[in-house]
Symmetry: C2
Subunit: 130 residues, 2 copies
């Protein structure tokens, strides 16, 4: 079994990782920790380096806990939405975990567009975590 976690360093994506870890332990699954970036500006380069470090640290931590983990930083010129859906299909992922965190200007929780796109377009079940 393969569980993919959409990771962007946010608190919500860390919550998604926690839920995925619980599932991975129970179902003896491997975690695919995936971040997707459109490359480009210098700021994005810094962000990419930071994400790479975070992915590596998280992988180490999971493996110390006995959970198999692969990390992937997708920088393929697609939007993150398409990128994540395509990658999940290519890898034969069984479940996707993603954080929900976007708030409107008045503080109401709304969908991030990536979460919405994944739920409607991924080939497998999607777990949303607040």
């Amino acid at each position: 079994m393969k569980i993919m976690v959409c990771y962007d360093g946010s608190g919500a994506s860390r919550s998604a990782l926690r839920v995925a870890t619980k599932h991975a332990k129970a179902m003896d699954a491997k975690i695919y920790l995936v971040a997707s970036m459109e490359k480009g500006t210098e700021d994005e380069q810094k962000m990419i380096q930071q994400l790479e470090t975070e992915l590596a640290t998280t992988k180490e931590k999971l493996e110390r806990d006995g959970i198999a983990c692969e990390t992937h930083l997708l920088v393929r010129g697609m939007t993150p939405d398409e990128d994540l859906v395509t990658y999940a299909k290519e890898q034969g992922i069984d479940e996707i975990a993603i954080g929900i965190r976007k708030r409107s200007k008045v503080g109401k929780l709304i969908f991030g567009s990536t979460a919405q796109y994944l739920i409607l377009n991924a080939h497998c079940p999607v777990i949303t975590v607040k």
Copy 2:
């Protein structure tokens, strides 16, 4: 661990039940199979009877498979959305599974309003299944 399945007899809700069953087996969880109706018209009364029968049959089937199951038909005068979120909180549910099935007039998959409401308002992770 407690997994709630939002059941309305649709194919999508049966898919959600399949995913929840797999999780329940792996995590030794109990399934709360829940349907919510606003009571009222005669048609709704028929629908309620039909759902009651389906819930009972499904509970039997799960229990034969060694999975603990409770069924609940919520008819409390709230909208299904509020009803399901309130019930999940009252019961201390750990995960909610719900089917996504609504299609727009041009056949594009869109969110059912209940799924959207649950994802944004439930206190726990929500698994959406197509």
